[in-house]
Amino acid sequence: MNDNSVKGVAIDDASILAIYRRTLLRRAAIVVGLGLLCVATFVLDLATGPSTLTPAQVLSGLFSPESLTAPQRAIVWQVRLPYALMAVLVGAALSLAGAEMQTILNNPLASPFTLGVSSAASFGAALAIVMGVSLPFVPTDWMVPLNAFLCAFGSVLLLQLMTRRRGAGMETVVLLGIALVFAFNALVAFVQFVSSQEALQQLVFWSMGSVSRATWSHVTALAAVMVLVVPFSLHAAGRLTSLRLGEDRARSFGVDVSRLRFLALLRVSLLAATSVAFVGTIGFIGLVGPHVARLLLGEDHRFLLPASLLCGALIMSLASLASKTLVPGVLMPVGIVTAMVGVPMFLFLIFRRPERT
């Protein structure tokens, strides 16, 4: 083959760069498109619900609350809006966490759920619900999320310790994560076994994952974590991309890989622990959001990270919408629905041949 041809077509440097730039533009367009889709599903999610409010009423109520009666206002502002926002935020956080995890552990199966972070959170929540532990200065409705957060954060710290141990490969870290899943699941089962009927019911509902516990303070807390973490993620994008070329490769390009891993796992633990603490176990998003994004636009992390975030938000928002509409009049826990919505989307992308990036 001639050195200056691409797939048999004669081509010069300028046109190779032109094609490359067009690829970048197309990716930017995909990210923007995903963002717009998110906004659309978010609005649809807001407008949907068991009450008799019409979508038009909901939307006008957002911009001029005085146009609604007091109970209607309560539905829009205390139920619909925090739930819909929570869905978007949790999807975004878990999926971004999954994307970073998959890259730093060099494993496509890594996600907050598969590596035990969600199980640890469930265990923390189970302790709080069943034992009714309380801490001074902490409001009681924050005890369950706080305990879930602490356990989830602790589990990531364990993974963190493992990556710092000399000679431990990333496979070891992944195996440890899987061991954590089983360990915490067993502990949760034990707590369920000894708990009262009432606590058990609460616990089962918690572990199904639902946005219906969302309050404005929860939404604000998760949004604050996102605002804190996302800029650092995006800042690390170039280094994360070079890590995909191999650990020694990245290090010889001057990337301090252990520091990169440490900080990425820190971000992952904040994102995953906070989300799981507020909504319970939602398994599918953190694994599949990044894969959908990767299939759409490759592994340049400048695009992969924002796209993963948006894919997660989109799937979760769609799931929230589906959880209200699948069984009319019943609000299903969204954790049950995420896989039902995400799997077809995922399969579609796998079987449609992916873009040759």
Partner: protein, 270 residues
């Protein structure tokens, strides 16, 4: 450029309880030259390369143009030295061009302040030089082993290091590409005044393309100098345990003819 010398003195590196190389001193590596690092498996060649690249903790002294490199950070190492490892990951969803550009973006290179545009042009120029411009838009995941090796070489060259460390760069290449790569490394070293240190198992290629040979065994320096000086029947017997002849072909090039395996010590006593 006579002063841009890489000097290794008293270098030790390896595992905490077992040093693979201990107190190793090497003759100076001079700018513009290609050096081949040869020796049997487990001789400590890769350990030496990784220690020089700053990828592995080491003690002793490694100086480049008089500046001590041991103890410097990875990003400072990366401004001067690039290391191309033996193994490369598979199934990465990046294009060849993207991977080369990301090698430029990973950390600051010597001549900072280049615009994005000129960095991209530099990446294209390197792909052309390595002869894989036709693969520029292909995904890394679709390449053969040999093609991946060429891409990896392009990723190293694009940073325009002062010292280029290549760990078995031609092991997966066909005859033509082996020749092309060694020829290119040779030419680039001369053009840029770059020091190239190449781990090779192919002694014939080492003899043909190197200005100097470093022959190692069990972490020790056995022989060094021009190919004719370092590669002799005696050193080959000592390092590889083979009986070999060194002859010159009609064009005057060194030919290594290996006749047999020498009996090991146990076999002799038995």
């Amino acid at each position: 450029m006579a002063d841009a010398v890489l000097q290794v003195r008293g270098l030790s590196a390896g595992y905490r309880d077992r040093k693979v190389i201990q107190d190793l001193s090497l003759p100076a590596f001079e700018a513009g030259n290609v050096y081949s690092l040869v020796g049997p498996n487990g001789a400590g060649k890769s350990t030496l390369m990784r220690a020089l690249a700053g990828l592995q903790p080491a003690s002793g002294s490694v100086t480049l143009a008089g500046c001590e490199l041991i103890g410097r950070s990875l990003s400072e190492h990366a401004k001067e030295i690039t290391y191309m490892p033996q193994t490369l990951p598979q199934g990465v969803a990046l294009s060849v061009l993207e991977s080369v550009i990301s090698a430029l973006h990973a950390s600051p290179i010597g001549d900072v302040g280049l615009s994005r545009h000129s960095l991209e042009q530099r990446a294209v120029a390197v792909l052309k030089r390595v002869g894989i411009i036709h693969l520029a838009l292909d995904s890394l995941g679709q390449l053969s082993g040999g093609q991946r090796q060429l891409v990896s070489l392009a990723q190293s060259l694009v940073r325009e290091p002062r010292v280029l460390l290549l760990d078995e760069p031609i092991s997966a290449l066909d005859l033509q590409h082996q020749l092309r790569v060694m020829k290119m490394v040779h030419a680039l070293s001369r053009e840029r005044g770059m020091i190239s240190l190449v781990v090779l198992h192919d002694l014939q290629a080492a003899a043909r393309w190197s200005d100097g040979i470093v022959m190692m065994s069990r972490g020790q320096l056995i022989a060094s100098g021009t190919p004719g000086v370092a590669i002799t029947p005696q050193t080959l017997a000592q390092v590889y345990g083979v009986r070999a002849r060194i002859e010159h072909c009609s064009q005057g090039m060194l030919q290594i003819l290996v006749d047999d395996v020498l009996p090991t010590a146990e076999e002799t006593t038995a």
